[in-house]
């Protein structure tokens, strides 16, 4: 979306003009052409990220690269700042009164905390799936999926087609295609969460953040979501916060361990779970504390 991306998952060597994010979005929205998913995705890089709630320093100088088209899992004990860190990536953190963030978050080459960047455009480019499935209760199934497009005032696109695409991508189409006008809240928990994922991908983001997306689901629904995550990473860069280490081991290409707001270790998942380098990671993944 931002420029033809480089073949390698490394960061683009061609800097993108700064305000290009909102502009390309509008242009694309206006043309209404369905976007062809490009194999080369988008990188997110944190550079010395600090986050605060009033006086509480909850994320401390995190520098971390999320590789394009990979799933990165964030693990760590409760209160280690992993959710806050992820909420900084699409600037949802600042919605909490008294919360602020410092440092840089780069989407490809663009600093999303830059002065001329529109926060609304950032959130369209970096979607988020929450812990509890939260379909809009006043809307139907298709209304929920189209909500993102309607809410962001996108015009001139074929909503019906977009809804179907998104529901198919979320693996929900076959289950709901005959009752698109029924309320979204009538679905089961796992279906609701997939509906929320469909809602997120309907706006065609570049990165998807997931904050413990399976913690409210039963094991089978969890496995379906995990399968879906594996599908989605072909088109999106995915960051998933999880308390379930088995889940991190199953879905993530690389895993980052956080403790007390600091990034302790970030390595390929297989390494984190067989031979972590830091003793604190070892202690955490083997369940010696936490």
């Amino acid at each position: 979306m931002i420029d033809p991306a480089p073949p390698a998952p490394a960061k683009s060597s061609m800097p993108t003009p700064r305000p290009s994010l909102p502009q390309t979005r509008n242009a694309e929205a206006a043309s209404g052409s369905p976007r062809v998913a490009s194999a080369a995705g988008h990188t997110v890089s944190l550079r010395g990220l600090d986050a605060f709630y009033s006086d509480h320093h909850v994320v401390r100088g995190v520098t971390l690269d999320f590789v394009a088209n990979e799933v990165t899992a964030i693990i760590g004990p409760s209160g280690c700042g992993k959710t806050t860190m992820v909420r900084c990536i699409n600037r949802m953190h600042e919605e909490v009164p008294g919360a602020r963030a410092e440092g840089e978050v780069q989407l490809d080459e663009l600093d999303i905390y830059g002065a001329d960047v529109d926060v609304v455009a950032v959130r369209r480019a970096i979607g988020m799936v929450f812990q509890k499935p939260n379909p809009f209760p006043t809307m139907s199934i298709s209304g929920n999926v189209a909500a993102g497009l309607r809410l962001s005032g996108t015009r001139g696109i074929d909503l019906e087609q977009r809804v179907e695409q998104a529901l198919r991508a979320a693996g929900l189409w076959d289950e709901v295609s005959d009752r698109l006008d029924e309320p979204g809240a009538g679905l089961s928990g796992g279906q609701q969460q997939r509906l929320c994922i469909a809602r997120t991908i309907a706006v065609e983001p570049e990165v998807i953040l997931m904050d413990e997306p399976c913690s409210a689901l039963d094991p089978i629904a969890t496995l379906r979501i995990e399968e879906l995550i594996d599908e989605l990473k072909r088109r999106y860069t995915i960051v998933i916060v999880t308390h379930n280490m088995q889940q991190a081991a199953r879905v993530a290409d690389s895993t980052a361990f956080m403790l007390n707001g600091e990034l302790i270790e970030h390595a390929p998942t297989q390494k984190i779970f067989t031979t972590p380098s830091d003793p604190r990671t070892e202690q955490y993944v083997t369940g010696k504390f936490g």
């Binding site: 939260n134 006043t138 962001s152 706006v203």
Partner: protein
């Protein structure tokens, strides 16, 4: 042999006594309510007729005293205008408090004043409008819209209070989900928060309307009591509470009977509004 022992007789007696006390208290509280309904119906029904609803008070001492048409229509007009003012403003203030003000000092000050306003006697609003809009003479004399203004002042804190509660019930997760989809805040409010809270907002507003419709004193100071039906809000205007107030002071039985009829009419109107509010809130998804 289990250690569970059967209920002792003493526990049984205490339990029965407590139940009886509570039931008795409830019955006692229902006595005045039943009495009011009984008197209203028994005394009011006799006054009701087609003529009662379709004619204005004649003001003649002898012969036909006329009905309460002007009072019913006046009440509807005055309360309608008051609603048109109080509901949008009230919900607007609530939206500010919930969505923007949150726990800021200014928002908390606003909340405090709204609480105070809820407790202010209605006569104070009447006097306030009387002093500001009528005694100054700048805006003419008594008028229906001034009654509406007084009622709106009375209703607004009620609307705001109930709306704030309902808006706070809208799950924060929904706002977050909408914001995370890249929606500007005003669209989140218009498309997500308000529709989700709608049934509750309607209920709160209807209760405020019912309260406003029953008020007498603010209207006595602002719209006064007249006889003729009017649709001009800038002229003096009759209303049901004011009409009742006027009639019961008269030394004529037929006028007192008319007051009973008017009171029954008013109560039925408010009852219908409350029922409507109930029905809507039952459909609420935020229960």
């Amino acid at each position: 042999m289990t250690s569970l022992s059967p209920i002792s007789n003493r526990r049984r007696r205490t339990n029965r006594l407590a139940k009886a006390l509570l039931a008795g208290g409830t019955a006692l509280a229902l006595v005045p309510l039943a009495a009011i309904v009984y008197y209203l119906v028994s005394k009011g029904v006799g006054a009701l007729s087609l003529h009662f609803f379709t004619s204005d008070p004649s003001g003649r001492f002898f012969g036909d005293a006329g009905g309460v048409r002007s009072a019913i229509l006046g009440t509807i007009e005055i309360v309608g205008l008051a609603t048109a003012i109080a509901v949008p403003f009230g919900i607007g203030v609530a939206l500010y408090l919930v969505e923007y003000g949150k726990q800021r000092r200014f928002a908390n000050a606003v909340r405090y004043f709204i609480d105070v306003m809820t407790g202010v006697p209605s006569i104070v609003f009447g006097l306030f409008i009387y002093i500001v809009l009528i005694l100054t003479g700048e805006f003419g004399g008594f008028a229906g819209w001034k009654g509406s203004a007084a009622l709106a002042l009375l209703m607004m804190p009620i609307v705001t209070r109930s709306a704030e509660v309902v808006l706070n019930l809208v799950p924060a997760g929904l706002r977050e989900a909408a914001l995370a989809l890249g929606a500007p805040r005003w669209r989140v409010i218009a498309r997500i928060v308000l529709p989700t809270a709608l049934p509750g907002l309607v209920t709160g507003s209807l209760l405020a309307i019912a309260r406003g419709a029953g008020e007498t004193t603010p209207l006595l100071f602002t719209a006064t009591i007249v006889k003729a039906t009017t649709f001009d809000l800038s002229s003096q205007m009759n209303s049901l509470p004011a009409q009742i107030f006027d009639d019961v002071r008269k030394a004529q039985n037929k006028l007192v009977d008319r007051a009973w009829g008017a009171a029954l009419t008013l109560v039925v109107m408010i009852l219908l509004l409350t029922l409507l509010a109930r029905m809507i809130s039952r459909r609420s998804r935020l229960a």
